[in-house]
Symmetry: C2
Subunit: 368 residues, 2 copies
């Protein structure tokens, strides 16, 4: 198969860091929220190895913010998710499944209290601004729903603490998981959270000052030189090993948060308030029909660019939606959605890749 | 600059025609509605020449359908657009600007009456399903809002009539512009409209039967062999020459339909009913602040992958968002948004590309 190029256009937006990404030798992108997201600099395996041992700077500008601002902002936010929001504060952001009126996943963003009556939803790949804004319009809520000029920059890997404390200050090390606070760089206070789309630890800097974007990028690279910092991006192998779901890959509007293994973010006390509450309550009572599972696949597999049906005894019992060879675990790691009858750890399955059938087995946990 | 690849993933969806597209030698894609959209097979210039002289088959599956079905379907549709819908019928589809509560463009789809109490919105690149579905949920409308498994296939070019009548039947030639009807292929009735994203004439076949997708593709190629049919896709040069706007490129939620030159689709009598009516009425009364204009640019220009500011006398008066060299018109053709003070035909401007400043001039019409 040939490897097609990605056509340039304004619609597939560049980011404030694109010049840096290009200078770092970007090899492949994906498109995410109508924006360029770097996926590969050397090779997916080599990028994975480096991420697990050093520190990387990720242009994740495509994690666009949906800003909800105004007196009714919290009232609106409470409609959007079944998660208990009482622990949210200016110092703590929350991962929130967002669901529609039937409990179907619309996005799985991080919710940030960015200021008084001001919330940012740091989104996965769907135009959930349209959902939020329509709810605002239909209810005549006193809010503005916008996409502000904010581009997250990720710093991920075991040496992230060290690099961040060099560029900002030592206090950044004190941030707890999903903690957030403001830190100064060249006189500007950036919101920073300890979060990110890897299991290696790290931070996300919400870059709301376009002029400082490349100076910040460059400072991370100069301060990180002896740490062997590199440009990177969400890594296919590492995120599957760690069980980090990808909206659009592993879950869609056809799935509920319970099916996605996100039950800890579904609070029974919130189900009278939020969209989809009735459907989620029914599922809580009756049990889920299917669930996200880690699945090890044997043999040679192609790149997973489509849904792979999963069979047991000739009957389809699920699907695999992300898969890659893991050099560290010496198996093909994958994420699948499997029916209740076959989701127990150890269950033998067959995965139908587009190049043939492979033996597989449900695992008891993701690979960590 | 290097030319980055597009990473494969399930999230960037393949189409029912992807096997055919690959066999035809696809060179470049863009991503549109989370789906692969072919953009180049030979070169943009060569593809353009062929489109203007022969006939092409376009995989425009990415024009996803938002289906609104149920007793309240028409009531919901009427909220979505300021266009007068009284001329719509099962035999006539309509181009409808969709706007938010402030008159901002959310999408510019084609509206199709697909059956009793059933409408399809054949969408440009935004998840407008979320907007439509939220309106349904907030108003407790008795409708279902879904993305059905429908993948449009375009047949575009001067020989489109000839090719379509060979694969379907002579009656297809009788379809008028934006007319639609059902035509049989291998026993299945496909909805077909005379429409498409080129100015060369042609059709869109709404392929709602996955099993027949590749047989239909193959029939178009075998029946079209002596017509020198080729695989193609929306062509950057041809669509700029023809003034076909691209949502996300030439207009966004920051623009109203009036600014986009779509005033003929804004009906004063509808403005009390639809979203954004008040803002659009104000703009109708006061005149638009800026407008889409054809702009000819002199000199050498790079690929337009970002907004190019437009200046007059050192002051920014607009922006260019799509541009390409046109071999037929021997100039760089472009689409820009220009403020009222400088939108008259003949006005001299300067366009700041990312490789330098170029002289330019507003044209009286697109290039046809």
């Amino acid at each position: 198969m040939n490897t097609p190029l990605l056509s340039p256009s304004r619609r597939v937006r560049r980011t404030p860091f694109s010049d840096g990404v290009e200078a770092a030798g970007i090899q492949a992108y994906t498109v995410y929220n109508h924006m360029l997201l770097p996926t590969m600099f050397n090779s997916v395996e080599e990028d994975c190895r480096h991420l697990k041992t050093h520190v990387q700077v990720w242009d994740v500008s495509c994690e666009r913010q949906v800003q909800i601002k105004g007196p009714d902002a919290l009232r609106l936010v409470e409609l959007l998710t079944p998660r208990d929001l009482s622990k949210m504060s200016a110092e703590r952001c929350l991962y929130i499944p967002m669901v529609d009126q039937d409990g179907g996943m619309l996005n799985d963003p991080v919710l940030i209290e960015a200021g008084p009556d001001t919330y940012w939803i740091s989104i996965a790949d769907s135009d959930v601004l349209m959902w939020v804004n329509a709810i605002a319009a239909c209810n005549s809520f006193d809010v503005e729903v916008t996409e502000p000029d904010v581009s997250p920059l990720g710093v991920q890997g075991p040496l992230a603490n060290e690099l961040m404390s060099r560029v900002f200050n030592e206090d950044v090390k004190a941030l707890r998981f999903f903690g957030c606070n403001r830190f100064a760089f060249e006189g500007h206070e950036f919101l920073i959270s300890r979060s990110g789309y890897s299991k290696q630890g790290g931070f996300e800097i919400y870059v709301d000052n376009y002029e400082l974007a490349m100076p910040l990028w460059n400072a991370l690279f100069s301060e990180g030189e002896e740490l062997l910092v590199r440009a990177g991006g969400p890594n296919l192998i590492e995120r599957i090993e760690g069980g980090l779901l990808s909206y659009g890959n592993d879950m869609t509007r056809a799935n509920t948060p319970l099916e996605c293994g996100l039950g800890m973010y579904v609070n029974a006390g919130r189900l009278d308030t939020c969209f989809g509450g009735r459907a989620l309550r029914e599922e809580l009572e009756q049990g889920s029909r299917q669930m996200i599972r880690p699945i090890a696949i044997e043999g040679h597999i192609p790149m997973c660019d489509r849904v792979w049906p999963v069979y047991a005894g000739g009957k389809q019992v699920g699907q695999v939606t992300s898969a890659a060879w893991s050099p560290d675990f010496e198996t093909n790691v994958s994420i699948g959605m499997v029916e209740r009858s076959h989701w127990d750890a150890g269950t033998k399955l067959e995965v139908e890749t587009h190049e043939g059938m492979c033996d597989a087995a449900v695992q008891d946990a993701f690979w960590k």
